[in-house]
Structures are given as C-alpha cells and as structure tokens.
Point group: C2
C-alpha cells in the first residue's frame, strides 16, 4: 500500500502533492462557513457540542503555533481563518443557549 | 514576530515542536467524539450544517491522501480517525433529518 502510494507520489510530483495539501486545507477551513451561517440563521446551536468546538478551537490554535514554529505558510493561513470561525461558533453557541434557557426559566 | 518565533523554536527543540503537532492532532481529532455522542443522545442534528460536514469529510480525506503521499504518520493516524467520525456525523444527520421530516409530514 505504502509502496504503491510512494510510486504514485513520484509520478504525481511534489507540486501536485502540495496542491493536494492546499485543497485539503481550503476544504477543512471553508467547511465552517456554512456552519456559522446556519447557527446565525436558525439563532440556535442546541445540537452543536460545546466540548467539540472548544477542543477544536484549542487544537486549531496548537496547529497555528505548530505552523508558526515550522514556518509552514499553508498551515498558518488555514488555521488562522479556522480559529476565527471556530471561536465565533463557540461564542454564538454560548449566547443562544443562554437565550433559550431564559425562555424556559423566565 | 517570525524571528521571535524562530528563536523560540530553536529554544523549544524539534522534539517539542513535534509534540505540539501531536497535541494539535489529538485535539482536533478527539473533538468530534462529543459531537457524535451529542447527536446520538439528542437523536437530532438539526443545527448541524450538512455542507460543513460534507466539505469537512472530503477535506479530511484529502489530508489523509496527503499524509499517505508524504508518509507522515501523525497526519495519516489523526485523519483516518477524524474521517470515520465526520462520516458518522453526516450519516446520522441525514437519518435524523429524514425522521424529523416524517413527523411533520406523515
């Protein structure tokens, strides 16, 4: 499996492998835009897990530090944007959950 | 900023930088466990964005290919697990959304 992929990688060329990395970074970063839009539109984040987005935001911050230490521009760029999106979702989750609790317990 | 971090990186040592990468990978992967548990427990994924988790799953699959091509074990390991978690959330989202539509339109 590994040998097949390494042969394929030689065929693919390192520029193409970099492109694959950039495509991956673009997808995993842009993915959080529709989630943010959905939470804003529904004014609800009930089904969203707070521990998930807290852990994710801390993890993305660590990736950002890792990118800064290793000097990897794609890691720095994608994780800066993802961090802003993840923190925004955490803030909205806390706000909307508090609002919905007020409705139940006035 | 970059110079300060590069000096800090020299002080930190490459083993510590690797540890930072592993910690980042562990956090961004493990983060999806509470989200999966929450969706299963609530039997609802209404507030979860389908485009987000579809794009995210494709992005993670690309990261996995990138890891396989470049032979990076941490990228392979973390993205294999994340892919399983992200696809599970997509499947549950589709199932629960269909069920909730049946309740409204019998």
């Amino acid at each position: 499996m590994s040998l097949v992929l390494q042969t394929a990688a030689m065929h693919l060329g390192s520029a193409r492998i970099d492109d694959l990395g950039y495509a991956a970074a673009l997808l995993t970063t842009a993915a959080y835009v529709p989630q943010l839009v959905r939470v804003l539109r529904l004014r609800s984040a009930r089904d969203i897990s707070l521990p998930t987005f807290l852990m994710f935001a801390i993890g993305v911050f660590f990736w950002l530090l890792y990118g800064l230490y290793t000097g990897s521009r794609p890691i720095i760029a994608s994780n800066s944007v993802t961090l802003v999106l993840a923190v925004s979702i955490v803030v909205l989750k806390l706000r909307y959950d508090r609002n919905s609790m007020r409705e139940i317990v006035p």
